[in-house]
Point group: C2
Chain length 364, copies 2
């Protein structure tokens, strides 16, 4: 039972998770594009198996630790969606030599040459910048063509990530960014094909753009990860329903002050992420929920996060009447960051009964 | 060699660590008070053994995972300095029944009764508030006497933590807070002794107040942890020299933009801590150093931290001339938060040679 777990710990509601996965699958079915789920948020094979239902079977990862773990659990088609380095290429090549089909990402001529020169089968996507200005080449650049020529038959396609969709605040804005994301990567693919290159993969996505895109012509797959769990930030940008956040931190009350409750979930258990600072509703370091995951404490939020102490400011109309040792749950601002401090999920199915424990692959 | 390590990872310079430990020991020797090192930052037995040289042998911990780990490595005198709950009291009692001497902390009458009622040997400190207003009772309160009466012979003493020393910006301010910290806890001890209670432990501290206190009369031990490693925030509040930061994150360049370098240390490897936002110099998510840990890149700082991507804005006068795969180091804002994402330290002695790998006990 949740009430018996040591705190702080991570609770995953499988019922909500399944609903979120169905929701994203339906959104993309409508547009005729499959999903390559991004496992950077969940980092769990059990979650990956749920997310892959009805999909082609490929996943996206953010670390080589994830790549090794998921390959060890039988998933071979893996996109490592962070710019590759020579040292990491060695690790990828070794995995591919033993049966994995890890696809790497680059926007660097030197790395394109290094990929082309490997004896092991390593294919690459060229990263295209669709407006985020983090990594990637412009779809109209000479560098795009140069990289493709260097990669030669190792070119698998193009990829972009409209991470600036996180700066949007409305569905219409996100839809416009999704169209720019699609346009950039589809245009890059067209240019490459006109020059005679085979472009198998045209990959786009982020949870907001995957959810709100209206047209994905020319895109062969979408990547998204946060949608599985959701968080307060995604709720604020209208990408996720606030009552569909699947992951919460279970915490115990460790002290009381007038109007405030001290809990044993602080900056390490919740993360120091403050992404809702810039959204209409600032949730501090998280929103306090009752043991059932329901908003029984109104607008009570974690207003301070020390290393192991969280301070919850109670909603005056909904006091938190728990003794020391009493338990509550905290919905996270940014579920990728919060989950990463924890090595496992305690899984429930909509109630307080723990039905499974699922491990996470953290680190690098 | 550092250049061969997989990135991102945590580098610990043992030479700097030893110097920091000597510096704190000297500061407290002058005041005649021993140190109960707080292991919440380092979470490593090797570091604990260094910090305990010349000290009585007791440590402070922030989680029961730390308590179990350090007890497993032969340290018995352990203060668990976070308010205890009934469930955690069970774990502590079990450890004490097998030979540990874990001291717990409370400011709650119900918990004082629960501690008094345990058949196993569990002693407690009463938490005193010396101005931080996080936890603890006022030193002049009736509740202080009430808690002592409930604990009876289980009372081991009093403890306070002047965490508000982190809001100070000058040595003189910190010295004043250190005096308030000392005054509060010493006064609480005096009141309890006058009422006939034995008060063995009078515990105070934070790295800033331990470093800058001018008088510790009535205090039997100081607790501090961050001083071992230091960080940019401690440097900003004049508690730690910026060239004495012992822990850095080793990162690889994964891409280039005009004036910017993309590295593989993002929000997970660096943490999302932004504590230098409120200090004279805002270091973003960390300060870029060269592979030798020297300020070879001027004021280059990590200006954006995505999950696995960090964006370094270069100092125009000191460009970062590294290819993709080139390595640099990043000094952290808040070393407790940054280190917690990593499961081990790669230890060096002032150069690039890795001389040891030390593990950390993360989680709860």
């Amino acid at each position: 039972m949740l009430a018996d777990l040591p705190t702080p710990c991570l609770v995953l509601d499988r019922t909500i998770l399944a609903r979120n996965i169905r929701g994203m699958a339906k959104a993309l079915e409508r547009l005729g594009v499959p999903l390559r789920p991004h496992m950077k948020t969940a980092k769990s094979i059990e979650v990956a198996r749920m997310a892959l239902q009805g999909q082609p079977g490929g996943i996206t990862v953010s670390t080589l630790a994830e790549a090794e773990y998921f390959f060890g659990h039988g998933i071979t088609d893996i996109l490592y969606a962070v710019g590759i380095t020579p040292q990491k290429l060695d690790r990828v090549a070794a995995l591919n030599a033993s049966g994995a089909r890890i696809i790497v990402l680059t926007d660097d001529p030197g790395m394109a040459d290094a990929i082309a020169a490997r004896p092991e089968p390593v294919r690459a996507l060229i990263e295209v910048d669709s407006g985020e200005a983090r990594g990637g080449v412009h779809p109209d650049s000479d560098l795009l063509m140069n990289l493709a020529a260097r990669l030669g038959p190792r070119l698998a396609g193009v990829m972009t990530h409209a991470g600036h969709s996180y700066a949007a605040r409305r569905v219409a804005e996100i839809a416009a960014i999704a169209e720019a994301e699609r346009g950039a990567v589809a245009h890059a693919a067209t240019r490459l094909r006109h020059a005679g290159h085979a472009v198998e993969i045209v990959s786009a996505g982020s949870s907001p753009t995957a959810r709100h895109a209206e047209n994905l012509a020319g895109v062969t797959e979408m990547r998204a990860g946060v949608y599985m769990f959701g968080d307060l930030f995604q709720a604020e940008i209208e990408t996720h329903a606030i009552d569909s956040i699947a992951v919460t931190v279970l915490a115990s009350v460790i002290g009381h002050r007038p109007g405030r409750v001290l809990v044993d979930a602080g900056g390490l258990a919740l993360s120091k992420d403050r992404s809702t600072e810039a959204t209409p509703h600032d949730y501090g370091y998280g929103l306090a929920l009752d043991l059932d995951g329901q908003p029984g404490y109104g607008n009570a939020t974690v207003v301070k996060a020390y290393q192991e102490h969280g301070v919850i400011a109670a909603d005056p109309s909904r006091p938190i009447d728990l003794p020391v040792g009493g338990k509550l749950r905290i919905a996270p601002n940014h579920t990728c960051m919060t989950a990463a401090a924890h090595d496992r999920y305690f899984v429930v199915d909509g109630d307080r009964q723990v039905v499974a424990v699922w491990h996470r692959v953290n680190g690098w």
